[in-house]
């Protein structure tokens, strides 16, 4: 999740980041997001995040691909243009299986990819948080947490207080935060 405006806090390592996230949540903030150089389950737990449901996309995409593939095979060679080849019946499930499976794999993978782009809100090349000085460390070894200014409980003074208490390395506003 990327916010239009808010405050970003940088921490030295994951342990400090977890303290920072808890400090912000303790102050009632709910619209917060962490940034780290690698995926981490403890960060997700501290944020109280829900599990990703992308597996559903794989299932639905794969099923649609397989059913669509089988239907197309039947439609083309059994219905539209049936040819008798060595006494094999026009509708021959055994021969249709391979393309059915392959189409299941293909559409399952493409569905996961598309769902990943949508769910992660990718293909947005710029976001206000990119303007925070030093934010690029998130893709190297830095740990950041951002609080959205659209949060009903957003209070800059309380965030500065939480930052001091949790040992943040730097605090910076972005997107013209109040």
């Amino acid at each position: 999740m990327n916010f239009r405006r808010g405050v970003a806090l940088e921490y030295e390592d994951k342990t400090a980041l977890l303290v920072g996230i808890r400090a912000l949540r303790f102050r009632g903030l709910t619209r917060i997001e962490a940034y780290s150089p690698y995926p981490d389950r403890e960060i997700d737990e501290a944020l109280g995040a829900r599990r990703s449901r992308l597996a559903l996309a794989a299932g639905i995409g794969g099923l649609c691909g397989a059913v669509g593939g089988y239907f197309l095979e039947w439609f083309l060679v059994a219905y539209l243009y049936p040819i008798h080849l060595g006494q094999r019946p026009p509708h021959m499930p055994l021969a249709f299986v391979i393309i059915t499976i392959e189409m299941g794999f293909l559409f399952g993978a493409l569905a996961v990819f598309a769902a990943f782009l949508v769910a992660s809100r990718l293909v947005k090349l710029w976001n206000p948080i990119d303007e925070v000085p030093g934010f690029e460390s998130a893709t190297r070894a830095g740990f950041w947490v951002a609080a959205s200014a659209d949060d009903p409980r957003f209070d800059r003074a309380a965030i500065d207080d939480a930052a001091r208490g949790s040992g943040a390395l730097r605090v910076a506003g972005f997107g013209g935060e109040p």
């Binding site: 940034y35 243009y81 690029e136």
Partner: protein, 433 residues
């Protein structure tokens, strides 16, 4: 500086080194071979596949040998990146997974070239796919050719998606840290605005896991489909239920050989022996030994089947002298005898021995396809149809050219892209400090 920052700077710093003499030399050789490939492909398209040594009965010959060889090479890449990921072998899989995924994609590109050219009129290759045309003729899905088209194109697409999704966090690192501005802009476009937020990471993890779960049965299915092209034919030595496991085992076997052949020079050229460690090569060698035995068991079963079935054509093929028998014995030496050296830890840990054995395995697996395809076709049920086969210089040039083109793509990738999955190494470094 934290340990993570050190890891990041070290690995990316090494990947950004200037082109070495070694790289330039490789690039020149591969470039020349690629030019040869372009010329011979143009010649083939311009004047037809009569330029090749193919004849009747040896109608498949070099094109299909090379197709099966290259598609097999790709298998170890998916095996390492997908199957070992699901089996939680991250501690040795991570550092070589990007290299091997890349190898897969570039190998499938070489493989796809051959059936396309073998069609005779490659500009009609799109007829293999069901598109609404005014002729009203559709692909015949009861034939093995559309199976291959579906399997190979699916394999290529899924491999590219898997490779790209895995690379997004590293592309974002390259966008954010160092390098000329045009490169950073390009990496920025490719990273699609990745920032490493926890929500994206959660989806990334699941997407990667799902793609690995799809790629795992896919890699088994692809060579099984390729083997079905053979198994549904009545040619001696082909018509057997042995083919799918035999082909898949052989594919992974040759793929590991190629992984070792690529990883050893790469780790020296970029001085990343501490990233791609001896232990990783050792594990690849062990898997090569195991899959080598699967292949050896395949040879044994094939011959037992021919003996036990009493089929005269099968028996004649397997047990009688053949003008090209030398290829069979050479294949046995390369694929069965040579890998036995890998029982010794010292051989697995001595790079030149490992490298030499891997080259022999690559040669052996190419010869295996030669034995299956050419010898089977030349000795079918009708002795009056027996014939001989000799490849032409165009056949040999195209084969050499694909090695050059594969090498060229691989060298370009090493030079410009993140060939070590640094974000996965960071995660591993935190879990296992």
């Amino acid at each position: 500086m934290t340990a993570l920052a050190e890891l990041h700077d070290d690995v990316f710093g090494r990947m950004r080194t200037r082109a070495s003499t070694f790289w330039r030399l490789g690039f020149t050789i591969c470039g020349l071979l690629t030019a040869l490939l372009a010329c011979t492909v143009a010649l083939t398209i311009g004047s037809g596949i009569g330029r090749w040594g193919n004849n009747i009965p040896a109608a498949w010959a070099f094109a299909i040998i090379n197709f099966v060889f290259w598609i097999g090479i790709g298998h170890a890449g998916t095996f390492i990146s997908a199957i070992l990921y699901l089996l939680e072998q991250g501690s040795w899989r991570n550092s070589i997974s990007r290299l091997t995924e890349t190898m897969t994609i570039f190998a499938v590109i070489q493989a796809a070239l051959f059936p396309m050219l073998h069609l005779g009129r490659p500009w009609f290759a799109y007829w293999l796919f069901p598109y609404p045309d005014i002729m009203g003729v559709w692909p015949q899905v009861k034939s093995a050719l559309p199976w291959d088209a579906a399997a190979v194109s699916t394999y290529f697409t899924v491999s590219v998606v898997f490779w790209y999704v895995g690379m997004i966090p590293d592309l974002a690192s390259l966008r954010d840290h160092g390098g000329p501005i045009w490169k950073r802009k390009l990496f920025g476009l490719m990273a699609m605005g990745w920032r490493g937020d926890a929500e994206s990471w959660r989806h990334w993890k699941v997407a990667y896991l799902m793609l690995a779960s799809i790629a795992t049965p896919l890699v088994i299915s692809v060579h099984s489909v390729v083997s079905s092209d053979f198994a549904i034919g009545l040619t001696p030595g082909w018509h057997s239920t042995l083919q799918p496991p035999y082909f898949v085992g052989g594919a992974i076997f040759s793929g590991f050989a190629m992984v070792i052949v690529l990883a050893i020079p790469t780790r020296h050229a970029f001085r990343i022996e501490h990233v791609i460690k001896d232990r990783h090569l050792d594990n690849c060698a062990k898997l090569m030994l195991i899959t080598g035995w699967v292949v050896a068991y395949g040879y044994l079963t094939e011959h037992f089947g021919a003996y036990y079935s009493g089929d005269p054509a099968d028996r004649s093929l397997m047990f009688h002298f053949h003008p090209a028998s030398i290829t069979f014995w050479l294949m046995l030496f390369c694929n069965v005898a040579a890998p036995q050296l890998l029982w010794w830890r010292r051989a697995r840990r001595t790079e030149w021995i490992l490298f030499a054995v891997s080259l022999l395995v690559l040669l052996g697996m190419w010869l295996e396809r030669f034995v299956i395809i050419v010898q089977g076709l030349l000795r079918d049920q009708l002795p009056s149809a027996w014939s001989s086969y000799t490849p032409t210089w165009v056949d040999l040039s195209i084969l050499a050219g694909t090695f050059g083109f594969f090498g060229l793509l691989f060298l370009l990738f090493l030079r410009f892209m993140p060939f070590v999955p640094v974000s996965e190494l960071k995660e591993e470094a935190v879990v296992e400090p």
